[in-house]
Symmetry: C2
Subunit: 332 residues, 2 copies
């Protein structure tokens, strides 16, 4: 694991950023979740990319994000999840650059916080500990992701990764993954969220959401379970990704995303599935904004594109801009 850049000046929750010089700290960003956060998720370049290629990808990414008022950038840690699903992966798995390395070496122009995913099973403990030690706690958070299946061989388990954080770097904010589809199957995802919160998770990010009902049920159960236990609920960030083709739809399903039958029909029969899914993502955002505000649950959205097709990436940028507008609009 590479060394990360040295911390930039701290500006805590009491000193919100203003102007271009003072970028908001991560804690300040998470404190804004009552109003609704906007994150943008990207996948690092392929592991085989040269430094020049990675710089160029970073430059293009920052140019895309420049007009957007995004609270934080999410950097995924891609793992070979072929154990997740015996079916053929609709898009091939390609190893990618370490997200922390891409952030530290190439995304130096990004002044806002970054949220770096860690598929913890990939990393032996010393490597994870090194990263924890060097992480800039003001400008960075982690999201710890467990194994994609129970049978997978791992270097570090999810509970052990959380323990390492507590031992090594308790001031680093980490988030956890929340999966509405698991809630539909077992009605217990809110209990997993509570267990992760107990281990130190300060926020949650969902996998891609196409089943709004399941998402509402998961956060509703989480909200009432927190209330019952006298705990403050942590922000829940819903991931939105457009779907511009039947191949992307197949990939979403391969990833474990449940697409309601009516929506799958609409995408399959649409003249323009990208436009259809874009409208659906907006409808999802509207419904979840209303729902979370009514519950009083801190929340946000993470907009990404699960495919690397230009049309879908452009649509995700446009979607993020529209979601920002929805979040900024005063509640009706």
């Amino acid at each position: 694991m590479s060394a990360l850049p040295s911390p930039s000046p701290v500006d805590g929750p009491a000193a919100p950023a203003s102007g271009s010089a003072a970028a908001p700290s991560l804690r300040h960003v998470l404190g804004g979740a009552t109003r609704g956060l906007l994150l943008f998720g990207i996948t690092p370049p392929r592991a085989s990319a040269t430094a020049e290629q990675a710089d160029e990808i970073a430059r293009l990414t920052l140019a895309r994000l420049d007009p957007l008022d995004v609270d934080a950038l999410v950097l995924y840690d891609i793992d070979d999840e072929s154990d997740r699903n015996p079916d053929e992966r609709p898009f091939p798995y390609l190893p990618t650059m370490d997200p922390a390395v891409f952030h530290a070496r190439h995304l130096v122009g990004w002044r806002r916080p970054a949220i770096v995913y860690r598929c913890v099973g990939k990393y032996p403990e010393p490597q994870l500990r090194d990263w924890l030690r060097t992480a800039d706690t003001d400008r960075m958070a982690g999201v710890f992701v467990g194994a994609s299946s129970g049978s997978k061989q791992v270097h570090t388990t999810l509970p052990r990764a959380h323990a390492l954080r507590r031992e090594t770097r308790p001031d680093l904010t980490v988030g956890g993954v929340a999966i509405p589809e698991r809630h539909t199957r077992g009605s217990d995802e809110h209990l997993r969220m509570l267990a992760k919160q107990e281990r130190g998770c300060g926020f949650f990010v969902s996998q891609v959401i196409y089943d709004v009902d399941a998402s509402k049920s998961m956060v509703s159960d989480y909200h009432y379970a927190c209330r019952e236990r006298g705990l403050a609920p942590q922000p829940v960030v819903f991931t939105l990704s457009v779907c511009g083709s039947l191949k992307t739809l197949a990939f979403l399903k391969w990833l474990g995303v449940r697409v309601p039958r009516w929506l799958e029909n609409a995408l399959r029969h649409a003249d323009d599935p990208l436009a259809e899914s874009y409208e659906q993502c907006l409808a999802t955002a509207r419904e979840l904004i209303t729902f979370c505000r009514r519950l009083g649950l801190p929340f946000g959205f993470n907009v990404e594109s699960v495919s690397n097709r230009k049309l879908e990436i452009d649509a995700s940028v446009s979607l993020a801009a529209r979601v920002r507008e929805l979040l900024d609009r005063p509640p009706c």
Copy 2:
């Protein structure tokens, strides 16, 4: 089965009703399903009611419905469905008056069409045939309901009832039941609907809807299956019922209605569950109106109260008025 009143003057689809003298025929009403139908469902008085009591109940019912612009009245045929569910029925089962008898003898002041349910298993063939022979095909439709479980002993099966109609009274419009919860379990309710349509069903009425997503998936699959087969889809009427208490919620669940977890939480934690469910029924209506109009599927709503509590019945009348407003509003 009693004789029914003699037919009133016919006014077919080409001659819409206007003024108070000419009431619309049933065919005309069903022809309006592209815009959206509004039905109101009631349960006949107890079988033990005297003629005077039944007259008084009919008078109160008509007074309640008078300000509403309801397209047709739905009269349920209540069956002992204790075979459906081994759990105790939250509201006791009480035998009720035959809906056709209540309609013919007591609801004489109702000038619009009536839709009379028939739990066909309750009736020996000759009794069902007598009713079919005497039914006023202009002012009345039937809805044939099959057994509430596979193990129930029946006098007449659903396919046999449909055959009897074709033999005896092919000009009587009959509808069928459509159950989104079955679609969630087996993904095949649309095929059952197509089979019923083949046997002669001219419309469908759902059981009470609290799971909008499942309802959308059912009618989406039905719509595309019709399109694939070159069939005209028949109107699908969604039943809405408010829920004013946890006992009513328990009864809805006993009846087989799936209430999404987030909605159950909202009802359980609401200061006023009746107001909460009322708003939810309206949101359901809005969403299904938009969805069906976009698909181009003829549709409607049937508003009822599964409980006989006055507050819930009053709320269902008010809900029907609001749904009428939603249906009359030009599409955005």
